[in-house]
């Protein structure tokens, strides 16, 4: 089951690159997000899965679609032919090499056990990774101000 979800994820990603229509590409990307979220549920990461569906499959897709419709019109971009034809070959070759190397490399790795963690996500998020939350505030403020700065009203002299 797990492996099928991952294959779906990869297939959707490839579709997102190959789709001629940008709108279809954005929707394929959302599909990939949903496969990823299902993988997360499978691995017991329900909260991350919910976030993935609501924020990445939802919000980011909306942002993409808004941009696509705002920039539509003249100046269609023609992608290079070989980029499109080469991708499946590239993916298959990469996958074969990947599975051969990964087993050799990662299988032999020693590892230390991690410390046991708190019982619920709230405790982990608030009392173990508190510093990350401050960083998130900084990142959010930065993102919001960047968007405000880039869409501020044009002054007269521009």
């Amino acid at each position: 089951m797990h492996i099928f979800l991952l294959c779906g994820l990869v297939l959707c990603s490839i579709l997102a690159i190959l789709a001629t229509d940008l709108l279809k590409a954005a929707i394929s990307l959302a599909g990939a997000s949903i496969f990823l979220a299902m993988t997360f549920f499978e691995l017991g990461a329900a909260y991350a899965g919910v976030f993935e569906i609501s924020v990445v499959a939802g919000l980011i897709t909306v942002l993409f679609i808004a941009t696509i419709s705002l920039t539509k019109g003249e100046g269609e971009v023609k992608e290079r032919r070989f980029g499109r034809y080469l991708l499946p070959v590239f993916v298959v070759g990469m996958a074969v090499a990947d599975f051969l190397v990964m087993r050799q490399f990662l299988g032999a790795l020693p590892a230390l056990p991690a410390a046991p963690e708190a019982a619920d996500l709230g405790t982990v998020l608030w009392s173990q990774r508190t510093f990350d939350l401050i960083g998130q505030i900084a990142v959010l403020l930065a993102g919001v101000f960047c968007v405000l700065a880039l869409f501020r009203k044009r002054s007269e002299d521009e």
Binding site: I3, L6, L9, V10, S13, A16, I17, L22, A25, L29, T39, F40, L43, G44, A45, A48, F51, E52, V55, V56, L59, I60, L63, F64, A66, L70, T71, G75, V77, K78, E79, R80, F82, G83, L86, L87, F90, V91, M94, A95, D98, M102, L106, G107, P113, A114, P116, E117, A118, L121, V124, R129, D132, L133, Q136, V139, G143, C146, V147, L150
Partner: protein, 102 residues
């Protein structure tokens, strides 16, 4: 290290490779951003799979949530820049943006 982790990490490498391929070969700016998105899906999978492997799924979920927040902010900034570029040049073709010499 368990088989699940190895399989997951192999898919992570595959996703990152596909994303980088898109970044290198595609000419449309939005499609390049889709490439970046695919790379970040790979990273998310790496974080969660590692947490599952280490029996630390909650920690890795909180990392993943932080990462998603960062991803959204970077993407919003990038799309804002792209819309502004489109206002100037009326195109999304990376090869038209040759004002900058290396």
């Amino acid at each position: 290290m368990s088989d699940t982790w190895i399989i997951n990490m192999a898919f992570v490498a595959l996703l990152v490779a596909i994303g980088l391929y898109a970044l290198l070969t595609m000419k449309n700016l939005i499609r390049m951003l889709i490439g970046i998105e695919i790379v970040s899906k790979g990273i998310l999978l790496a974080l969660i799979a590692t947490g599952y492997e280490k029996n630390n799924i909650l920690t890795s979920q909180s990392l993943a949530i932080s990462f998603i927040v960062v991803e959204v902010c970077v993407l919003a900034t990038a799309l804002a820049v792209i819309i502004n570029i489109h206002r100037h040049t009326k195109t999304l073709d990376i090869e038209q943006l040759t004002n900058l010499k290396g």
